[in-house]
Symmetry: C2
Subunit: 272 residues, 2 copies
Amino acid sequence: MTGDAPWSISGTTRLLAVIGDPVRQVQAPALLNPLLNRPGTDAVLVPVHARPDDLPDVVRGLQRAGNVDGLLITVPHKAAARAFADGLSPAVRLSGSTNALRREPDGRWYAENFDGAGFVAGLRAAGHAPEGRRVMLVGGGGAGSAIAAALLGAGAARLTVCEPDRQRREALLARLSRVWPGRLAGRGVPDPEGADLAVNATPLGLGPGDPLPFAPKTLEPGAVVADIIMKPRDTALLKSAAALGHPVHHGVHMLTRQLDLYREFFRLAPDR
Amino acid sequence: MTGDAPWSISGTTRLLAVIGDPVRQVQAPALLNPLLNRPGTDAVLVPVHARPDDLPDVVRGLQRAGNVDGLLITVPHKAAARAFADGLSPAVRLSGSTNALRREPDGRWYAENFDGAGFVAGLRAAGHAPEGRRVMLVGGGGAGSAIAAALLGAGAARLTVCEPDRQRREALLARLSRVWPGRLAGRGVPDPEGADLAVNATPLGLGPGDPLPFAPKTLEPGAVVADIIMKPRDTALLKSAAALGHPVHHGVHMLTRQLDLYREFFRLAPDR
């Protein structure tokens, strides 16, 4: 029996799920489970694959389960997920994007977003502080929206949202401009002019045949190239940028820097 | 990282869930997970707590999730669970009870019941072969129905179903009598007269304050007393019966004898 072994799962174990489409690339179970399943914390994080049409059924089903305490939300569900929340954090209201849902003691569900805070913390730890940066952000979806808000909040001088979906782009710019007027621009296609930090916040790079989200050769010399794709670690974008001499910043930093935030949010035992 | 460690859970891990109300007492995760998470089998079994009103939402949600391959069903959902199946095994048709649901390659869900086969195999292994037995079965619900069919199929001479819900009792007797006429009786209350095997197939004994499902002192001398409650291992019924000198048979045998059946059903790697 495994009752006393590490990684034991029993009838008392509480559940967290990370929901995505696809889900096979998620890193959160490998990173978080060592913190969840040990003396004092009887919980496990499992991947759950939900296609967009099935998301409402899958999320509602998990929310109805009595031992599911929280959900992590990843691509492509970050915008849709707030429909399943009874309360929204300021980061969710500003970005329109959710990457964590928690069951409150009263049974209501609260939506939070740590992508932005995690991304900025990762940049800082790597020596790429965002203060004064001129940013090209490619992709104004769930993660991109959260990263945009966090970069502006952290002091980026200028941020250009490059997003082909005009309605999505304008809605994001409108929300952000209310808080940070005069520092934003929008483009339908990538526009690297003057940028010293270029961020891919699209899913391009998850699939082996994906096109590059933008062409690194059009960047200014020395511009930092960051990706939010975690798997593969070295995306085609980052390989191409590195070959051109650009400093690169890997996607996994955004997640590893969120671990402490998740632990606090899900009320898990502190690290020891 | 835990990528190469035993018990690693990643984005590629397939899910099985055991659904009950309560669920904290289930033994299946501790028994099955050591078989699921090892080279060649990337799967994990987690407990899911669903109250009866929430069962449809919870089950449908799990069935919509692309990486959920199967469900185990426990008290009190075994009768309700077949509503979520597209196909039923003979054991499910006969007993009206489901304890396992599997996603077929074509996406349909198939219902099976291993409680009866597991219970009978456990009895045999303990030296209490069912052939020729006169059985008092207390409880005609999900597990009880499956055990009744398996005991009759294994050669029990006579079986009295003691179940206060008249409609449930008569429906079960009607289904079983078609296959095994002349060997069945029904009672509204426990009737130990002439029985040499007495089985508790009710949930009484799960809770610390539960009354006994029947009074062991009314049994014939030497009658075997079996319980299907797994936790606590020594229920008040079994303790009381043992104190009176009756051979007792613990609930966990029904499950441990089902492990090979589950592995085959869920198409998991064979034991090595």
